[in-house]
Symmetry: C2
Subunit: 350 residues, 2 copies
Amino acid sequence: MGKQLVSIVDVARRAGVSVASASRVLSNASYPVSEETRSKVLQAAQELHYAPNSLARSLRAQRSNLIAVLVGDNADPYFAEITRGVEEVANDCGYLTIVCNTERKGERELHYLQMLQDYRADGVVFAGSGLNEPGHTERLNTIVQTMRERGAAIVTLAQHTLQVPAIQVDNASGARAMTRYLLELGHRRIAFIGGPSNLIAANMRLQGYMAALIEAGLDVDHTLILAGSFDREGGEQAVRNLEQLPEPQRPSAIFAANDETAFGVLRGLNSLGWRVPEDISVCGFGDLPMAQVVVPSLTTVHIGLRDLGRSGMRKLLAQLQHDDTADTELLPVQVVPRATTQTYSPPITG
Amino acid sequence: MGKQLVSIVDVARRAGVSVASASRVLSNASYPVSEETRSKVLQAAQELHYAPNSLARSLRAQRSNLIAVLVGDNADPYFAEITRGVEEVANDCGYLTIVCNTERKGERELHYLQMLQDYRADGVVFAGSGLNEPGHTERLNTIVQTMRERGAAIVTLAQHTLQVPAIQVDNASGARAMTRYLLELGHRRIAFIGGPSNLIAANMRLQGYMAALIEAGLDVDHTLILAGSFDREGGEQAVRNLEQLPEPQRPSAIFAANDETAFGVLRGLNSLGWRVPEDISVCGFGDLPMAQVVVPSLTTVHIGLRDLGRSGMRKLLAQLQHDDTADTELLPVQVVPRATTQTYSPPITG
DNA sequence: TTGTATGCGTTATCAT
DNA sequence: ATGATAACGCATACAA
């Protein structure tokens, strides 16, 4: 490979001092060093373009200053925003951020965790909610426990099977509030397009939706609950399925379990020639940046995603410094009414 | 901190063999080892839940298996897509991906590079184009050279002042092609909303735009060239400025230097009550996923961003394996006509 | 085929 | 205040 970089030994030699002294200067140790020694070391380091070897440092210190964020897909704006928040705080505190795309596959998640354990990552942020694959929870728990015993910090930013410090998005309340909002607009037949069945967050939102209906004294119509996949394709497919429904059974509003799905719904409705919100109301969950960009702008449930990332990283740091905060916090969310929803008006039969 | 993890020494002891033998088994060395020894080591490792220390390994091997992607902002879909592609290939090849948000600040870029040097990152992907800050190029060059001398691989995915292997998005041709396309539609007054002046890519697109006009024998009207910032706000602001223009000087088409800007333009026009594409045509550059989501869907220049990331990482690997490929490749782009552009029709004066 | 010993670059411990 | 040295965990050169 390339030529060796200068090491602390080279610096010490050039400065005419011991390695120990050089180290004390270069690592900003609190240990007393004479001004003369200090300046000699600093100058030698500068002249040689000394770059401390963080791998060696980490090995020695049992502390890597590496943290990781586990996401389903970093190109998904939901995770991208969280990652941004995590990275922001991490960088401020001298940590490097490793991004891991699990593609929502248990196998990949475990694979990554093992690598992170190997690299002695100081912490891991689970950005997405837990996977419901058979046997996954157990295996996940095993490695997470091992990491924690080693001193690594873990935090989840969603409902999770993991028993670790968490910041939970209040999915159930958010979905309930949104459903109530639609009910107040006069809608009675409200379709719900869910997410992957192995995603806890998706289930919580479904629960919230049903709870609101029941509270309002309405029956839950299972023909109005459709499968989705948290992506646009799922939304489009669901619309095609809704179209198959006989006229009187069709919904007057569609609640998509996340914004991406809602975008797919909007696209699907558009190609069907159904106008939003005149013919049908639509809403999502998440409030991605593009929710405000689409025309009409999307009514959705706002989650402060970047802040969620920031708080998550801070919680990680707190664990690392044994400043143990409350183990699990709930992140409140709010309904943001925009232009894709409007008061229900009965179809004109003529 | 937490309790010590088991090391290779523990494994060796438990297996009743030397550390060297254990290492040979656990690192999959090509060195011959008897079947008996191998299985003893493997079993001991399993029983102890041995996790190899990658920091030690990296220190020893002078090779970290860490790579980094330098982006302006990982929450920007442009960079998010690239990062995804990089991470995909990196992970396939056993590398961990560090994400660095430079916020397009030279200072942050340098700061990150120093950290990456400290961690002995095996490679760095510069996803964005070079910054034009005074003195930045020189300082950047210095540290990049040091990294390369060390054996690290570098690749840029955009026009860059750095003299390193690169995959360049053909910004000039793309912008020229798009401008020609608008000209063919009959537009003559085409506004151009640029990007940050210190971004080479933005300048290349402006060059392409002007080249097409000149080729068509048209004058470049500088009142139609507006400043932008590669974000939605810039697009909205530019629209407000265009509105100030007296009627006859207004453009019939707006070419935004990137998609984000175009989204801002669409939003700005919408709030002004100008219809797209009936009253005015709009197009962007980049073809982000959401270009197909907005209504009407955005005419833009397609860049295969995820592929760009993948190719970039492959180019990095090629360098690492001294399979030196062509130093700089050009990534072709294509105009994708969608619904925000249409044939120019002169305003009806009545 | 196996084992011993050394070095990768740092920092902390212990003397001085 | 300074210096010599062990140890972090691993992989290799060399010896057996």
